[in-house]
């Protein structure tokens, strides 16, 4: 039947080949290579190195810098997840009202999401250093007149604010999509029964939003834990190493501090952390969806 005389099974097999070959060569191979180097003390350029077993893994757990990086990354994730999702939810509720100009506002709000994080990060770095302080002084607002990024205690906020500015838009449109699923007749029935707007929001809108909320949390958590571009663009890990995220530490150790083996071991920890977290979250999400049917 087939012109070239190949069996359907063979054709199907050949159709998977480009993906399978590329995936083995450029994805699985690096994963295994990474694990191999995590067992060595290779510095990244010498010709020789030793196998050190799990020494890197043990050292990392006692490494203050790594633990600081871990706690920075976790705190950052919490701030960004809360910040992004609350801004997103408020704007989504506003944009779900029958307003004439809502299309225009949605377009404006979404624009930062299509920009590159490195450009936005560099831009806000300039704002924080040379623009906001004079503006704050003129207006007499104290927190604005200080450079958030220049202080180890507040630098995390400067980065998080930038991330929220750029990152709330995608959760916002996901919430909008969720809000459009709330059945109108249920709300109308609630209005007739005399439910107040607040009651309607908590007993009707929120339950319908739960699946979208889960999606948004999964995405925002992953985004927070893997923050890298903003760090490079805005603080480069400083001041006094207070903003070194996990991704940034891996890069620093592997690419510029000649601790390649050590960096790959850190990467394995990050992989376990993020892999396990997203796996749990996605399992939870799947259960919710089944429960809904």
């Amino acid at each position: 039947m087939n012109i070239r005389g190949l069996k359907p099974g063979t054709v199907f097999f050949m159709m998977t080949l480009p993906a399978v070959l590329l995936y083995c060569l450029f994805f699985l191979a690096p994963v295994f290579i990474g694990f191999y180097y995590s067992l060595t003390n290779w510095d990244g350029f010498s010709l020789s190195y030793d196998m050190v077993g799990f020494q890197n893994y043990i050292d990392i757990l006692q490494d203050k810098r790594f633990l600081n990086g871990l706690s920075f990354t976790l705190l950052y994730t919490v701030i960004v997840v809360f910040g992004k999702l609350s801004v997103a939810l408020v704007l989504a509720l506003l944009l779900s009202r029958p307003l004439k100009l809502r299309g225009l506002f949605r377009s404006i709000y979404f624009f930062p999401a299509v920009l590159s994080m490195i450009t936005v990060g560099l831009m806000f770095n300039q704002f924080f250093y040379s623009l906001f302080p004079p503006i704050g002084e003129k207006l007499g607002i104290e927190w604005l007149s200080l450079n958030l990024l220049g202080n180890p205690d507040t630098a995390i906020l400067g980065i998080a604010l930038t991330n929220i500015w750029q990152g709330f838009a995608i959760p916002m449109v996901i919430f909008i999509a969720g809000l459009s699923n709330v059945p109108k007749d249920i709300i109308e029935a609630a209005v007739i029964d005399g439910a107040s707007p607040v009651q309607r929001f908590f007993s009707i809108t929120i339950p319908y939003l739960i699946p979208m909320l889960t999606v948004n949390v999964v995405l925002a958590v992953k985004g927070g834990l893997t923050v890298f571009d903003y760090i490079v663009a805005m603080t480069n890990g400083g001041p006094s190493k207070s903003t070194e995220s996990m991704g940034f530490l891996i890069y620093q150790h592997g690419m510029s501090e000649m601790k390649f083996g050590y960096g790959t071991a850190e990467a394995i920890y990050v992989f376990i952390l993020i892999g396990v977290l997203s796996f749990i979250q996605i399992k939870l999400l799947a259960r919710k969806e089944v429960g809904q049917q």
């Binding site: 180097y37 663009a233 592997g254 394995i268 990050v270």
Partner: protein
């Protein structure tokens, strides 16, 4: 339900304040880019008094902006061409052979890639690609195509579940082979999900900083726009009028595209994340 007037006013006021927060920084960037250094120190918010374009021409002429723009466009377009053939192809083969061990394994193993954050393989990629002498644009394109498979397969196979098998069978009875059925019947039906894959990946590649940083940072001739803007800032950290001209220029292509295709971009990004 019609919204009452006071509610409408409050809503619009809140939305307008929000829009100010979004547009303000962008306006500032452009306004600083259009000034000389002396003019900047006076008042950032006032509109520029004259059209001063020297900052832009400096970025374009001295910093090889066009070259970087071309690199970015080239890498994005070639990667997408490969993806838009390879992803639907492997998705189709897998979705029609889920009962066979090989296809099931390929599906499972590629999907597991979703759980591997890029930073976990960042260093080994650098080493591996260095060994293969692929720390160049070819290597970068291959990496993008490879890293797109996990999500692409997830979206593609999910979509194909809703395309009935009867179509394949009918086409088989008509004497069409697997490849003909795929390319003439299935592929056109997959266009909606292909569009989603196209939008998600084009924005990702165009804006990506980490892979180019790992793979191309030592070869200025290969730089993409994000890498260019990063290095440009490092080199000219004291001239921020120039820096903002570079930021504005690097945002311009995507801004122009956004004006015309925002409906599809917003739709594609939302759909890609919900699934």
């Amino acid at each position: 339900m019609k919204t009452r007037l006071p509610f409408r006013i409050i809503s619009y006021a809140a939305l307008a304040i929000g829009a100010l927060f979004i547009l303000g920084p962008l306006y500032l960037a452009l306004s600083i880019a259009l000034r000389t250094r002396d003019e900047t120190t006076s008042n950032f918010f006032a509109p520029p008094t004259r059209l001063y374009l020297d900052n832009f021409s400096t970025v374009i002429n001295k910093a090889n902006f066009w070259g970087m723009l071309q690199n970015s466009a080239f890498i994005t377009i070639i990667s997408l061409l490969f993806m838009l053939i390879a992803i639907p192809m492997v998705s189709y083969a897998i979705s029609r052979n889920m009962n066979k061990l090989y296809f099931k394994w390929v599906y499972t193993i590629i999907l597991m890639g979703i759980f591997v954050p890029f930073q976990a393989i960042m260093l080994p990629i650098y080493r591996h690609m260095g060994n293969l002498e692929l720390l160049n644009q070819t290597g970068l394109i291959m990496m993008y195509v490879t890293l797109s498979f996990s999500q692409g397969l997830f979206l593609g196979v999910g979509f194909l579940k809703n395309i009935p098998l009867e179509l394949d069978q009918a086409s088989k009875i008509d004497g069409c082979g697997v490849w003909y059925t795929f390319s003439r019947i299935i592929y056109p039906l997959m266009l909606p999900i292909i569009a989603t894959i196209l939008i998600l990946n084009s924005l990702w590649i165009w804006n990506d900083f980490q892979l180019p940083l790992i793979m191309l940072n030592r070869h200025p001739d290969f730089w993409t726009l994000p890498l260019f803007i990063y290095n440009f800032k490092t080199e000219t950290s004291f001239d921020y009028n120039l820096a903002f001209a570079a930021f504005s220029l690097s945002m311009a292509p995507i801004a122009i595209l956004y004006v015309f295709t925002q409906k599809y971009i917003i739709g594609g990004l939302t759909e890609g994340s919900i699934k």
